[in-house]
Amino acid sequence: MDNATRQIVSILVNNQPGVLSRIAGLFSRRGYNIDGLTVCATEDERWSRMTITVNASPATVKQIVAQLEKQEDVVKVMDFDVRKVVTRELLLIKVAVGGAKRSEIVDLCTLFGAKAIDVTADSMILELTGSTDKVDSFVKTLGVYDISEMARTGGAALERGADALATTVEK
C-alpha cells in the first residue's frame, strides 16, 4: 500500500461478550491488516480498551475510524500519530544457553535493559519491555543463540500529555 505508515488506533468499547469478535471481524471483513492487538480492562469497569496497531495509509485509517465509530459497542475512537504516543510491548523469550555463554546473554540484557527471570543449567527466560523496534532488535540480536520459544504481547499505548481517552467521552 502506498504511503502506509504504522498507526495506533485506541478504542474504548463496552465491556461485554462478542465485542472483540465484532471489532476483529470488522477489520478482517474490510481488509484492514492488524499488526498488533491488545485488549485490557480499564479504570472504568463498563469499558475495555483495545489498542490496535495497523500499517495503513492515512485515507485507510480515516475509513477504519469511521467504520469503528458507527459500531454500537464502540464508545470512543482515537487514532494516534505514533510520535505523540508512548507504546510498549512485553517480550518473554527462552534461550537454550548455559555455562560460559550465559555471561554473554547477561551483557546483552544490560545493554537492552532486559531481565533474566528464570535460569536453569541449560536455559534462561528473559523479559524485555520496550517499543516495537527495540523488542524486534533484541530478538534479532538473540538470533545467534538457540531461541527455544518466545511470547510477545501487542502494543499498549497512551497519548503523551494530560489528556485521556475516557475524559473525552460524553457522559
Binding site: 462478542g18 469478535s21 471481524g25 485515507a59 475509513q63 469511521a66 467504520q67 465509530e69 458507527k70
Partner: protein, 521 residues
C-alpha cells in the same frame, strides 16, 4: 406486572406499534407462538424462513417501519441469513427474533443449536443475546431503536427458549421515535459553495432519500438548479417520471444517463453509495469530476470514491438546509438531450410496461436477473416505496416474500416481476399468498434458461451450456396446484392483449410469459 418472557416480548412488539409479523415456528420459539395467539398481532406463516425474512423486508421497505421476523434455532435461524444480508446491504430496518436452545444447553452442540449471533454478525447492524427474562424488554426496545435510527439496518435478538418461560417485571414504555441526524452548518455551507460554483450539476438519488422522506426536497433542489436527476435502484420513485430532466436509473444499459454523468461538472449524490457495478462511476474517477456526497453514514464518505465535499446527515434535513443557500441556475444544453432512446427493448420490456400501465398504482417487486434490469428501466413508478428490489445483495428469490410483506404494510395489489430461474427459488411462498388472500400478480418472464448467466457466458464466449434449465415447467399448472390462478401466454401473443386477458380474474395469479430463450441476450 409479572409476565413470562414470551408475553413481555409480544407486549414490547405492541409497544412499537407492530401489527404484522412474519415467521416460522419451531421448538425453540413455541412459547412466543403461544403468546402471539392472545395478542393483537397478526402472524403470517411463510413457507420458508427466507421467505418470511424477505416478507419482513418488504413490509419495512413499503412502510418505513421495522419489519419483524420470527424463527426458531438452528436451521430456522440460518435460513434468515440471506434476508439479513439483503437488509444490511440495502439499509432496511428489520428486527429478527430467534429462539435458541435453553441457556444451559448453549455451547454443547445441542440439537438445532447454531450460534446465530456470531453467524449474523457481519450482516447485521447489531446483535443481542438475551440471557434473562429481565433483559427481554430492553433488548427489544434497543433493537427497534437501532434498526430505525441513523443508517437503518437489521438487528438480531437471540433468546434461549427457557428465557421465554421465565417471569420478569414488565412496565409498558412509550417508545421514543429516533430523531433524524441533522447536518453540520459548516458542511452545508461548503456544499452550497461547491454547488453555486458549478454550472452543470447532476443529482443522483438513492435509498437514503426514500428513507428520509426527502423526495420533495430533492425535487425542489433539482428544479432550482435545472439539474438532471438519475436514481439508483434504491432511489426509484424519488423523482416523478414527469420531471423533464429525469433520466431514469443509472446503469450501463441507460446510455443517456451514462452520457449525462460524463457531461456534468458536479455529481451530487444523495443517500446513495457508489457500487462496483457501473461504468459511470469510473467516468467520475477518470475525469476527476467534483463530487458532493450527502449521506447519513460518515463511513460512506470517501469509501469508494473521493468526495470534494460531504454533508453527513439525514437527507431531508440536509437538503432543507442546503435549499436556501443554493442559487438558481439557468437550464443548460446537454448533449444527452439530443440522443435517441437507446434503451433495451424486447418482449420482456414490452410485457413489463403493459403490466404496470394496466395495473396502475401498484407496488412492484422483482427478483434478480435480466428481468430486474428490465423492470427497473421500464416499470412506471411515480412515488417512493413502490419499487422494491434486492439492490445491493442481488438475492434471487426476493420478490415473492417482499411482495407479500409489502401487501400487509399497505393493502396494495403487488406485481412480482420474476424470471423462471428466480421463481424456482421461492415459488413456495405462493402458498403463503393463497392462504392469506394476498392479491399478487406474479409475472414469470420465462425463457426457460438463466438469462443473465447466459448473457454473461455469451460475453465471455464460454463454450458449453451449464446455463439453461430446460425443464420447461408449466408455471400456470404449478400455480393452480397451489390454489392460485394460472395463465400461460405464448410467445406469439400480443403482450398488451395478453396482459389484459391474464389480469381478468381473481388474484393471486401467476402469468407464465413464454419468451424466446435468447431474449435480451
Amino acid at each position: 406486572m409479572l409476565l413470562n418472557g414470551a408475553d413481555i416480548l409480544i407486549h414490547c412488539l405492541e409497544e412499537q406499534g407492530v401489527r404484522n409479523i412474519f415467521g416460522y415456528p419451531g421448538a425453540s420459539i413455541l412459547s412466543v407462538y403461544d403468546a402471539l395467539a392472545n395478542s393483537s398481532i397478526r402472524h403470517v406463516l411463510a413457507a420458508h424462513e427466507q421467505g418470511a425474512c424477505f416478507a419482513a423486508e418488504g413490509y419495512a421497505r413499503r412502510s418505513g417501519r421495522a419489519g419483524v421476523v420470527l424463527a426458531t434455532s438452528g436451521p430456522g435461524a440460518t435460513n434468515l441469513v440471506t434476508g439479513l444480508a439483503d437488509a444490511y446491504m440495502d439499509s432496511v430496518p428489520l428486527v429478527a427474533i430467534t429462539g435458541n436452545v435453553p441457556l444451559s444447553k448453549l455451547g454443547h452442540d445441542s440439537f438445532q443449536e447454531v450460534d446465530i449471533f456470531d453467524v449474523s454478525m457481519p450482516v447485521t447492524k447489531y446483535g443481542i443475546i438475551v440471557k434473562s427474562a429481565n433483559e427481554i424488554a430492553p433488548a427489544i426496545r434497543r433493537a427497534f431503536a437501532l434498526a430505525e435510527s441513523g443508517r437503518k439496518g437489521p438487528v438480531l435478538v437471540d433468546v434461549p427458549s427457557d428465557i421465554f418461560d421465565h417471569s420478569a417485571e414488565y412496565e409498558p414504555v412509550q417508545p421514543a421515535r429516533p430523531l433524524p441526524l441533522p447536518p453540520s452548518e459548516e458542511e452545508v455551507r461548503a456544499a452550497a459553495e461547491l454547488l453555486n460554483k458549478s454550472e452543470r450539476p447532476l443529482l443522483y438519488a438513492g435509498g437514503g432519500v426514500t428513507q428520509a422522506g426527502a423526495e420533495d426536497k430533492l425535487m425542489q433542489l433539482a428544479r432550482k438548479l435545472n439539474a438532471p436527476v438519475v436514481t439508483s435502484y434504491m432511489g426509484i420513485g424519488c423523482c416523478p417520471p414527469g420531471y423533464e430532466r429525469f433520466l431514469g436509473v443509472l446503469s450501463d444499459i441507460n446510455p443517456k444517463a451514462t452520457e449525462a454523468v460524463s457531461e456534468c461538472d458536479l455529481f451530487v449524490t444523495v443517500g446513495a453509495r457508489f457500487n462496483s457495478r457501473y461504468n459511470a462511476f469510473n467516468t467520475l474517477r477518470k475525469r476527476k469530476i467534483p463530487l458532493l456526497q450527502i449521506d447519513s453514514d460518515r463511513a460512506e464518505i470517501d469509501k469508494n470514491l473521493l468526495t470534494t465535499a460531504a454533508v453527513v446527515g439525514d437527507a431531508a434535513l440536509s437538503l432543507e438546509a442546503l435549499l436556501p443557500l443554493a442559487e438558481e441556475k439557468e437550464a443548460q444544453d446537454w448533449a444527452y438531450l439530443a440522443m435517441p432512446d437507446l434503451g433495451e427493448e424486447n418482449r420482456g420490456t414490452r410485457i413489463i410496461r403493459a403490466l404496470t400501465r394496466e395495473l396502475g398504482d401498484v407496488t412492484v417487486t422483482t427478483d434478480v436477473g435480466l428481468h430486474q434490469e428490465w423492470t427497473a428501466h421500464n416499470a412506471v413508478i411515480r412515488t417512493p416505496r413502490r419499487f422494491l428490489t434486492s439492490g445491493g445483495l442481488g438475492a434471487m428469490g426476493f420478490g415473492m416474500g417482499a411482495a407479500i410483506g409489502a401487501h400487509f404494510a399497505s393493502g396494495d395489489v403487488c406485481l412480482v416481476v420474476t424470471g423462471d430461474g428466480s421463481f424456482n427459488m421461492n415459488f413456495n411462498e405462493l402458498t403463503t399468498a393463497v392462504k392469506h388472500h394476498v392479491p399478487l400478480v406474479v409475472a414469470v418472464l420465462n425463457n426457460n434458461a438463466l438469462g443473465m448467466i447466459r448473457k454473461l457466458q455469451t460475453a465471455r464466449r464460454s463454450k458449453g451450456g451449464v446455463n439453461a434449465l430446460y425443464l420447461d415447467v408449466d408455471y400456470a399448472a404449478l400455480a393452480r396446484a397451489m390454489g392460485a390462478r394460472g395463465v400461460t401466454v405464448t410467445e406469439e401473443e400480443d403482450p398488451e392483449e395478453a396482459v389484459k386477458r391474464a389480469l381478468d380474474g381473481p388474484l393471486p395469479v401467476v402469468i407464465d410469459f413464454k419468451l424466446p430463450i435468447n431474449t435480451g441476450i
